[in-house]
Amino acid sequence: MNLAEGVQTISFALLALMMIGAALGVVLLDNIVYSAFLLGGVFISISGLYLLLNADFVSAAQILIYVGAVNVLILFAIMLVNKREDFSPVPRRWIRKGGAALVSVGLFALLGTMVVQTPWVIPANLPATTSTLIILGEHFFSDYLLPFELASVLLLMALVGAVVLARREYVLDDEASVGEMPQLPLQLPERPKEPVALSGTSAPSR
């Protein structure tokens, strides 16, 4: 084992331990804020793993997007819905937890066996490329052009939709209908009795 190999092995082991530990923390800890920060830890260790896999650009993107955007977004959401809330205990909850653990372990065993058994066809003598950025760019503008363009529509739509859903509406506009009959009985199930913002925090009973 030469030096480079040793460094790689050790960093792999460290990153893997960090990642698994943090991921377990994300799903097991009670405090959601700790979970969110540990999620950031998972993302960072994964980006380290990407470096080991010669994926410099994706590793940077992982940090920028997952840690910089998604994780911060999740933290914001936690702060926005931050009401100290003690979930009322549900009877026989441990059965479900045990079942879930059993399912996960079983799935791990199945997939693990599959990974170990499958003879992955590794081409010999083909060194991984180092100019990933150039090749990625060429992919985006040649054989992955169509998904690349469609992704822009997806992002636009997600943007518009997220704004519409998350926007708080203080008053119900009276000009709800551009047509006639603005004072319909409005007995539609979708129509609330009063705007939520005015009714305070009390959830409408239904």
Partner: protein, 538 residues
């Protein structure tokens, strides 16, 4: 690689219909942005015009010589054309029924149309995608748009809750689908095109890895077509989501799911065709039984239609699993018919709930006395869904079962017939309830039924949609010949099904550029790559 060369390689004309939809989407969005609410008067018609133009463009693309476009990402063959036509038409009818609904609930119409059009776009691209990344992106465009539309009535608890459940289950299922896709990428030795995957896994077809990825991919697809073990979201989402959205999901989203299933299974998994046919047979059996039996017990109209649509998906899967040419043709034919009859039923439900604000089945009692047109339309659509003879649904089922019988799937066909009888029971129950004679059996809602008026904004398009679906549902069965020729032609010309056993060559990749310089550069400047390579060899 110069530009003209690239443009000709892309064969961009194949996505002209989708281009029209994108332009329509942008026009609607920007008009809504600039003009404001006043634009609501005409943006729906712009959207409808754009979609009809897209259907026209689809028609022009019939029998295109060069179908593969964007270097193998997209295939605009006749099969995809029919699926895309179904999706675009479903969106047109959905818009017709949405206008009044969205207005009356006080939501924004412009954004609604934008999201609906992008869902359509995703579904249309999904019907022709032949490459994992493209499939993933179009699938997600469709899915995310569906989540957003489901939660669009954001002041309504049930809409919120349906959206949250749909999003969580949907995102989990797409993660599972992706895991299967990533395994396929590895098993095929680094190919993301479906044909390349088929070539890559041809030798190791019975291995555990291929089977697991097959199961994972089918799980992701079955979620979209809500086949039975993966159907749990359907009743909740159908009950909670705004009704026009439910109509869209039950037709367009499902059609896209079937298009994906056909393409993915026949191109990527010809070597394990026994296995996937077995899995889909099981899904079809479960869907037919559970969908139709549970629908009997429902009291809410939307929930009943949700379970009935699960059962209908089971019928459609018969045409898919038998794998013959006439099977695929009958499946397409049934989807075309199903488009009109199901959307017709939803138009009626929307009309009823706009006037009364309820969708309980018991509230429909005695509707015939007050609104004969609505009763007639709803009865015809429901009877057609059940498969009563002169209507379109009967011929759809006839072709499906006939194709299944010819292919020797006797058990499936008999089960289909039995569950059809069950389904007729709960459809007729609604019809019977509507036409009760005695005034004392009338429900309270019907006694207070408002006077008929088509005047308010958005009612005319609703009426147009109602009449259109009514006429098509009544006549499409008797005059089904042109439709049947269409679907036959669409599956006949496609090499897809002849190639269900042999494998097509992978799409040509035009990335020769990195090949030469890299091999020269790498050895000097890549210590890490080298060490990794050393590891590999040892």
């Amino acid at each position: 690689m110069d530009f003209a060369n690239l443009a000709s390689q892309l064969n961009a004309g194949a996505i002209l219909p989708e281009g029209i939809v994108i332009i329509t989407l942008l026009v609607v969005l920007i008009a809504d942005l600039i003009v404001g609410r006043a634009a609501d008067r005409w943006t729906p018609y712009v959207a409808i015009a754009g979609l009809l133009a897209a259907v026209g463009a689809l028609y022009l693309g019939w029998n295109r010589l060069e179908t593969v476009s964007f270097l193998g990402s997209f295939n605009s063959d006749n099969l995809s054309l029919v699926f895309r036509g179904i999706i675009a038409l479903a969106t047109v009818v959905t818009i017709l029924m949405s206008i009044r609904y969205v207005e009356q609930t006080g939501s924004d119409l412009g954004e609604y149309l934008t999201i609906l059009l992008s869902a359509t776009l995703g579904a249309m691209f999904l019907s022709g995608s032949e490459e994992l990344v493209m499939i993933f992106i179009s699938l997600e465009t469709l899915s995310i748009a569906s989540y957003l539309m489901t939660g669009y009535m954001k002041r309504d608890l049930r809409s919120n809750e349906a959206a949250l459940k749909y999003l969580l289950i949907g995102a989990a299922s797409s993660a599972i689908f992706l895991y299967g896709s990533s395994l396929l990428y590895g098993l095929s030795g680094g190919s993301t095109s479906l044909a390349g995957i088929a070539a890559g896994i041809a030798n190791s077809s019975q291995s555990l890895g291929v089977l697991i990825s097959l199961v994972f991919v089918i799980a992701g697809i079955s979620f979209k077509i809500s086949a039975v073990p993966f159907h749990q979201w359907t009743p909740d989402v159908y009950e909670g989501a705004p009704t026009p959205v439910v109509a869209f999901l039950s037709v367009a989203s499902k059609a896209a799911g079937f298009a994906l299933a056909v393409r993915f299974m026949t191109i990527a998994f010809p070597s394990v065709s026994d296995q996937w046919q077995f899995i889909f047979t099981a899904l079809a059996i479960l869907s037919m039984i559970l969908g139709n039996v549970v629908a009997i017990a429902q009291t809410s109209m939307k929930r009943m239609l949700a379970y009935s649509s699960i059962g209908q998906a089971g019928f459609v899967m018969i045409g898919f699993v038998i794998g013959t040419e006439s099977g695929y043709a009958s499946m397409l034919f049934y989807l075309l018919i199903y488009l009109f009859m199901n959307l017709g039923a939803f138009t009626c439900i929307i009309l009823f709930s706009l006037r009364t604000g309820t969708d309980q089945i018991s509230d429909y009692a005695g509707l015939y006395q007050k609104d004969p047109l609505l009763t007639l339309a709803l009865s015809i659509c429901l009877l057609s869904l059940g498969g009563i003879p002169p209507l379109a649904g009967f011929f759809g089922k006839l072709y499906l079962f006939w194709a299944g019988w010819q292919a020797g799937a006797y058990g499936l066909v008999i089960l289909g017939l039995l569950t059809s009888v069950v389904s007729i029971y709960y459809y007729i129950r609604v019809v019977k309830m509507m036409v009760v004679k005695e005034p004392q059996e009338m429900s309270e809602t019907i006694k207070n039924y408002p006077a008929l008026s088509w005047k308010p904004f958005g009612m005319r398009p609703l009426q147009v949609g109602l009449i259109l679906t009514l006429i098509t549902t009544s006549l499409a069965g008797i005059l089904s010949n042109p439709l049947f020729n269409l679907v036959n032609a669409s599956v006949a010309d496609v090499p897809l099904f002849e190639a269900a056993v042999p494998i097509r060559p992978a799409a040509p990749v035009s990335l020769q550029v990195p090949a030469t310089p890299l091999s020269a550069v790498v050895p000097q400047s890549a210590p890490q790559a080298q060490t990794l390579n050393v590891n590999l060899r040892s």
